[in-house]
């Protein structure tokens, strides 16, 4: 059985209380309209959202699957710990802020600062796949994990905005394009993705393709750039003891 919640006219606090106290694992929210913090720190739930959820969707998420059948807003998956957020539309700014495990799949485009402060440790490796384009400051301060931008439908331009990888000191960004991002910071190295790199992201792209009805093999045939930092200690040279 699934719990169905009609969010019309409901305060986010009440909605989230219904979600966290629901006995069923499956929850279907209808008529979401800017309700914040849906699924915040939820664990072991399968949440389907119809309508547009508000900011900080799935913040501190634990082992939970959230499907959004519309656009999502800012701070989606903030400090996400594990689980999966699948957005069948576009996503606002700061998606995956500080996430350290789990996956965010975005069918359309994402706003500024996607994957900012994303980090990995031990066996925990977070991942974001963005189907179309993404705004400025992608992977800012990234300290781990994989960000994949597919640029679907934007094959004749670079699908990432300016200042990509600012402060990046770990992880990798893969961009499906012929047009390398311009003005990368000095500590970010941009190379053509090797066949091994493509294999490394194959499972991610396959999952994206399966979620949104694309052909992963077709997507992976294209040219990808891979961005990695060339130092894990960007500040080492900056200081002198006083």
């Amino acid at each position: 059985m699934a719990t169905k919640i009609n969010a019309t006219g409901m305060h986010y606090k009440d909605l989230n209380h219904l979600v966290s106290s629901a006995k069923d694992k499956d929850i279907i929210i209808e008529n979401a309209l800017g309700h914040r913090y849906i699924g915040s720190s939820a664990a072991d739930k399968n949440i389907e959202i119809h309508g547009i959820p508000g900011n900080a969707l799935g913040a501190y998420l634990n082992d939970c699957r959230i499907n959004v059948f519309a656009n999502a807003q800012d701070a989606t998956g903030d400090t996400m710990n594990s689980g999966e957020i699948i957005i069948h539309g576009n996503c606002g700014d700061a998606a995956g802020y500080g996430m350290r495990d789990g996956k965010i799949l975005i069918k359309g485009s994402a706003g500024y600062r996607a994957g900012i402060h994303m980090k990995e440790y031990q066996s925990h490796i977070p991942m974001i796949v963005i189907g179309e384009k993404v705004g400025d400051f992608l992977g800012e301060y990234q300290a781990g994990g994989r960000i994949i931008v597919l640029g679907i439908g934007h094959e004749d331009e670079c699908p990432v905005g300016s200042f990509c990888g600012t402060g990046m000191h770990g992880g990798a960004i893969y961009i499906r394009t012929e047009h390398a991002p311009k003005g990368l910071p000095v500590q970010v190295k941009c190379t053509d993705a090797s066949p091994e790199d493509i294999e490394a992201i194959r499972p991610d792209v396959e999952e994206f393709a399966a979620s949104f009805g694309y052909n992963a093999d077709e997507l992976l045939k294209s040219h990808f750039f891979k961005l990695v930092p060339n130092t894990a200690n960007p500040y080492k040279q900056l200081y002198v003891n006083n």
């Binding site: 915040s40 913040a59 710990n81 402060h117």
Partner: protein
């Protein structure tokens, strides 16, 4: 050989009559200053490496050692001091940003020392705390401005979440990573015994310390290190770090070298990689955005924990605090510019921010004027050095105080201001196992308890002297304060009269 542009800053003086060449100093000094020369059968020193941490002096069994500032002097100038000259030499040699630690050593006015406390004479008799009960318990959090009634006419007694402190003193945020595990254990156990709180700082919570959760404030900073549901739920309150007094506008960079396995696991970040938490939270550009983070934390913890927003004392602190008080925060922590730090760019530490005394007075007044003082509690830190500073802070309007440096002093810190080197000889600001074990948490926690108990007793004596038997009656009671040697503008900002008035 290249010429070194400046001499050692300290001189290690060894009384050879007393020295028994036991080489204890050599083993104790992580800066490798002392060494034994077998050819001459003599203990020698490399003075240039000494940071004046006093470890060898304290450890020497015969008291043979003394550290003195090097008396060698550059040609005197009140403008180009020797310190400024040396700093320029350092930068010319390296191209680096100057990095320092602990509070600024510069000679800025300490307003605590220009404020005097009142005492009762004849009328309104003073109270003896040894004889009569004194209340120093405080509750931090929102105080409702109206009484709400239930449908049946009874009074709704549900209150917003509060922190309950037996003593209005908490240990301020110091992260695991910047200080050692043994230092954290000492703070956690002391907080538990004292009935107050310590603060994890932004470095996550070590698994061994979840047991002290009831006495723990967990911090969330821009890097979100170690933040997850279990962490948020472990603490009694959550502090959002927006700023730090010693380095307003600057974030934290814990160098990769300090991120060993345990720190990596606790912070949930890769080993050996710099831990970067920039000053801005890149999802906060307004009070409305701050509100979003506050409520995201409240949602995640079911509105059971008060949320503290910590800011540095800066020029327009009163307006900022007013915004925070309206943002849904339960407590505002304000950190003054003389506060300590494990590492900060020297120029920031020594030049940015304002004194906590002025910031506190301005914030308290502003919130009162706007009728929202009850919306938040105010906690201040950033150089409260003694119980009398604490009494003055409370009389200026603080609900409670944060102490950082005095807590480190209790653990053995000698304010050598070298925390950023990671080689703290006292086992505090280091992750080197051989140094960490010098700090015994069993002794450390007891010393912290002693310190705070002593302060508590002094606070009660000063309160008793004023004829006040409850800390609540001291809070914001500026009539109990007088300025000494302050100009009218300073008195106006502090909201106090001059001595003799």
């Amino acid at each position: 050989m290249p010429v070194n542009f400046f001499p050692a800053q300290f001189e290690v003086i060894r009384n050879t009559d007393k020295c028994i060449k036991c080489r204890a100093c050599e083993r104790q000094c992580s800066n490798e200053v002392h060494f034994y020369d077998a050819d001459y059968d003599k203990m020698l020193t490399k003075d240039a490496q000494c940071v004046d941490c006093q470890r060898c002096v304290c450890i020497c069994p015969t008291g043979a050692l003394k550290i003195r500032p090097n008396e060698n002097a550059f040609r005197e100038s009140a403008n180009y001091t020797q310190q400024i000259m040396i700093e320029n030499y350092r930068q010319a040699g390296s191209g680096g940003v100057l990095l320092s630690s602990m509070g600024t050593p510069k000679d800025y006015p300490v307003y605590w020392d220009k404020i005097l406390i009142n005492a009762s004479q004849v009328t309104n008799p003073s109270i003896d705390p040894l004889r009569e009960p004194m209340e120093t318990k405080v509750f931090l959090g929102k105080k409702p401005s109206t009484i709400k009634k239930n449908p049946d006419g009874s009074i709704n007694t549900e209150l917003p979440p509060h922190l309950e402190l037996n003593i209005p003193i908490m240990f301020s945020a110091m992260s695991y990573g910047s200080i050692s595990k043994n230092a954290h254990e000492s703070l956690a156990r002391a907080a538990a015994e004292l009935g107050t709180y310590y603060n994890t700082g932004e470095g996550g919570l070590h698994k061994d310390f979840y047991q002290y959760g009831e006495n723990t404030i967990v911090q969330v900073a821009s890097g979100r290190f170690g933040v997850f549901k279990g962490y948020l739920e472990a603490g009694a309150a959550i502090e959002i770090k927006m700023g730090q007094g010693a380095k307003p506008g600057i974030g934290g960079h814990l160098p990769g070298a300090k991120i060993r396995e345990d720190v990596s696991r606790t912070r949930m970040i890769p080993m050996g990689t710099d831990a970067i938490s920039p000053a801005p939270h890149h999802d906060i550009y307004s009070i409305e955005d701050l509100r979003q983070l506050i409520f995201s934390l409240k949602e995640a913890t079911e509105y059971k924990k008060p949320v503290i927003v910590k800011i540095a004392a800066v020029h327009n602190v009163a307006a900022i605090a007013s915004g925070i008080a309206r943002s849904g925060a339960d407590i505002i922590a304000i950190d003054g510019f003389r506060g300590g730090t494990g590492a900060a760019p020297t120029r920031i530490r020594d030049n940015v921010g304002i004194p906590i005394e002025l910031a506190l007075a301005a914030v308290d007044q502003r919130l009162r004027d706007e009728g929202i003082r009850n919306e938040v509690s105010i906690v201040v830190g950033g150089s409260i050095r003694s119980s009398s500073d604490a009494v003055k802070a409370i009389a200026l309007g603080a609900d409670a105080i944060y102490i950082g440096t005095p807590a480190l002093l209790a653990l053995g810190c000698h304010l050598c201001r070298s925390c950023h080197s990671g080689k703290c000889n006292w086992g505090i600001a280091t992750q080197r196992p051989d140094l960490v074990k010098r700090l015994n948490p069993e002794i450390g926690y007891q010393r912290l308890v002693n310190l705070v108990h002593a302060w508590d007793h002094e606070i009660k004596e000063m309160m008793g002297g004023m004829g006040i038997n409850s800390i609540e009656s001291l809070r914001g009671n500026r009539l109990m304060l007088r300025g000494i040697g302050l100009n009218q503008k300073e008195l106006d900002i502090l909201g106090i009269q001059h001595a003799g008035e």
